[in-house]
Symmetry: D2
Subunit: 294 residues, 4 copies
């Protein structure tokens, strides 16, 4: 399975009561379907997965599979702290037609899970029981755990572990993994502010929160990479730099959803304690997205 190109980890639309908002999910997917996005990750961190019940995830997977265009690859965010629950969710997603599962590193018991051995055990146990391939998902800025490149290299030997989404923005690690993993294992990144250099050093694709709001700009970077247009690639990277920073590191999902609203997608509210933006934050985002359309 080829995981190349740009994937948004899609935002989960909620109505004003905080309930899943099916028609808005449909609206967003129908709009994204018309872009060159490679596929969708449903129930990733940007989808507020930690705010969702298992039952809500099943509904979202079901709906997204219904509304996604046939040419879009479907991935499910299924990582939980336990092997058991991760496997259960992964195999539910498999039944619904999802092609791979994105599984974040377990991290709550940091004294234990920051050890390489615990990560190896977790991902091997999940991959052994999963009916679809596994993409490791590493986001140390949220989890506080950073799976080492050597562990990823070891896991790349497992026939059912096929990729990593590395969201740290650490280019040295990205290059090290590309050098050391088994041929065929795919390294994707999850940091829009370093998309261009990551592609330049060999990342095959990216899962980008930012792509929810302004997919064309990152698809343009991807196309510049494919066509070896180095000026355009760097130029577009610099154009999105500030906007990408605002809707990830600085304002997070509330910022991203506001940018979605600006660009014709449905962003809407987050679940608390993710809270609405201040007027000043909104203005910053408006300014940054002025020339970055949906």
């Amino acid at each position: 399975m080829k995981l190349q190109g740009i994937f948004p980890p899609i935002a989960t639309p909620f109505d004003s009561e905080g309930e899943l908002y099916r028609t808005k999910l449909r609206h967003n997917l129908e709009k994204w379907n018309q872009t060159g996005l490679a596929g969708y990750v449903v129930c990733g961190s940007t989808g507020e997965s930690v705010m969702l019940t298992a039952e809500e995830k099943l509904r979202l997977w079901d709906w997204a599979a219904e509304y996604a265009a046939a040419d879009k690859l479907l991935l499910a965010g299924t990582g939980m702290e336990s092997v058991r629950e991760t496997v259960w969710l992964t195999n539910k997603a498999a039944e619904m037609g999802y092609k791979a599962a994105m599984v974040r590193t377990p991290h709550y018991y940091k004294n234990l899970f920051s050890r390489k051995e615990a990560q190896l055990l977790f991902f091997r146990a999940v991959a052994d029981q999963a009916k679809i391939p596994i993409m490791i998902y590493n986001w140390p800025q949220a989890t506080g755990v950073d799976i080492p490149a050597e562990a990823v290299a070891e896991l790349s030997e497992h026939p059912n572990i096929v990729a990593i989404k590395e969201s740290s923005g650490n280019l040295e690690k990205v290059m090290q993994m590309i050098r050391e993993v088994k041929p065929g294992f795919q390294v994707l990144v999850g940091s829009a502010p370093t998309l261009w250099p990551s592609l330049q050093v060999g990342a095959v694709g990216a899962v980008l929160a930012y792509a929810n709001a302004a997919p064309y700009s990152v698809i343009t970077i991807w196309e510049a990479h494919r066509t070896r247009d180095f000026e355009a690639g760097l130029d577009w990277q610099n154009r999105i730099g500030r906007a990408a920073y605002l809707v990830t590191a600085k304002y997070g999902i509330p910022g991203l959803k506001y940018a979605m609203d600006l660009n014709g997608y449905y962003g809407g509210p987050c679940r608390l304690p993710l809270s609405p933006l201040t007027p000043e934050a909104k203005r910053e985002i408006e300014e940054a997205f002025r020339d970055l359309k949906g």
Copy 2:
């Protein structure tokens, strides 16, 4: 409500298939019922709450309420990342007779949740809707978020936020909170290695993983504090120091469950990726608990 004394955040017993093991929970509770423990926290971090489904938590609360002696105070660990799910679980526990809910700080979106304002918003929103009082639960070693003392002081003004379990082991912060919170707000600690000095500076109680395995020793420290027996208190603190370190920071819940097995409780297996101890780790724990009985 007085939260004084020693509370174990009880370990969750699993059978060899990884299922909840009701008869072993009963065994443990009946044995703890005979001690001077003040009560039980059901589904805390030590109870592997991040490995449990919501439905399993409800079952555990139900069973623990059935087997706990009448004089033991019942607390439920109900913290989730969202206000919504935390409130739902808290009110389920309230219906089952739990007297208070222990709610950990939300932490996944660290860039946002490490801000004091997000913590204030979360705990106020939860407390406003909760049918039982809230105890804040702060364990930065796991969550990567450390709620500041000033935020705790502000939250102590809320009529339905009555206590904190501070598990950092940071004595300066414990003292600062005791000085600055509203009178009546109760500061408990969650670190056995600093139990004695914490009580000496004014903590009113403790929620201690270690107390699952060797409750008498920490109850002895509590009694030494009550009776102002300073030699005994410090002596017992030093006796438990290494054992407490092994079953928390060094070996975590697998270590604690092994110590429970040694001391006549049912520890049993953890859910993966928490994994069995090596023989060497077991020997270390046996050695450290030689004179610390259940």
Copy 3:
């Protein structure tokens, strides 16, 4: 050599040109000489040692030795990154009559110096060549390196390493060291906000920046400890809590020097980039020291 009691790591007085200010050093020492302080540490972190040339340190040691009362124990802060320069400074201090040297952990090359082996090598090499005993000095909040308790236990076997000043405020580590070091090795602490509980668990003394400005209050805590007056000890600890925080963690040496000025000592300016306080910071300090006299 007994290192018990309270030692200020004395502030270095500068005139308005930034030169060493001998008469003000004399003024401060003559005033401290009348207190129950156990001795002085000259050229520690609070003495802005990292802002001083080697030649200036020699002058300060010379002058302090001249003005210190005969009953005050003299220690010199001599730690540098290299064994070579640390030994040279230590033996210069020895020639001037200093009784021990306080040597901070090397830390610049953190990838290497955060390993226990590098710390063992450093302190053993220094102690082998030093003509006076060595006190290890650990302040991870500044150095970014935290020498582990096990390393301190190993170093306590060295005949010329006699003490540690542990400034982390970590009570668990203080207790662990007290349990594990060779009998006779002395554990002092360097954190005023946790002075009382540190003495309660067995620390034999303290080196406290705060003691520059308000020595009587911390000497009172020390005396409460000696006479087992638990109410007074805890009460005074709580009285100094906020003031101690302001002149260390929050405002650092500029804050401490301002408090010295308030209390009849000469504080004066720091060397840049340590910069003057804002009027608001001054007011905070005035408020906190209102009832804490020099």
Copy 4:
């Protein structure tokens, strides 16, 4: 002044007594003079500057100026914690013909110096008094302080602050600085493992410890960048990846000096507590440098 190209922060040669070794410095410089290196940084972190006295630095600057070829740009590492000493050293270097001073961020009093304002104050005060231009030097892995991109942008307005050496390896920050600094301000990097992508996004040069031992490989990357040979650039980046990691993050200066010895330069011993490599470490380095010649 153009700071483009590759600069080694030259290692300081010591003899077996730990004294400066002038003839070996000459040997190294004469060998480097024959390469395409752009110049030399004398007394940087790799030069063990924190292990050197001020007097030794003056001698090294003098000797290096004597032996460096006329076409090599000379920079002096002059950063100390105080403005005062930094200015003094900088102006000494200026007198000896050095063209710019590389000044690391002050960092010892982290609670204060991690604030942007302290960094602005320090660099402005130094630059105001320095007779040669200042290059900011940021290496958070050693200092524990990371000067923010916004502070660098503000400092770039100062007429005597002309460049930054950013050693964090953080590509996002490198790109942000390039976007936000005043035109003409030069961004160099200090991390060999991310050299190629850094040049691709606009860094104008690099100061690389690794270049001491194997300058040709990094000059090749630089030339690939100049000639827009993207395959060669990435290929060589991947060839040096492991070697660069070993002589910086993993084994530090002792590793680098061993690699220098392998490649016909004089590496020799470090000052303690930097300690000799184990035989196993030596073998790892031999292996990694097999095809990377001096």
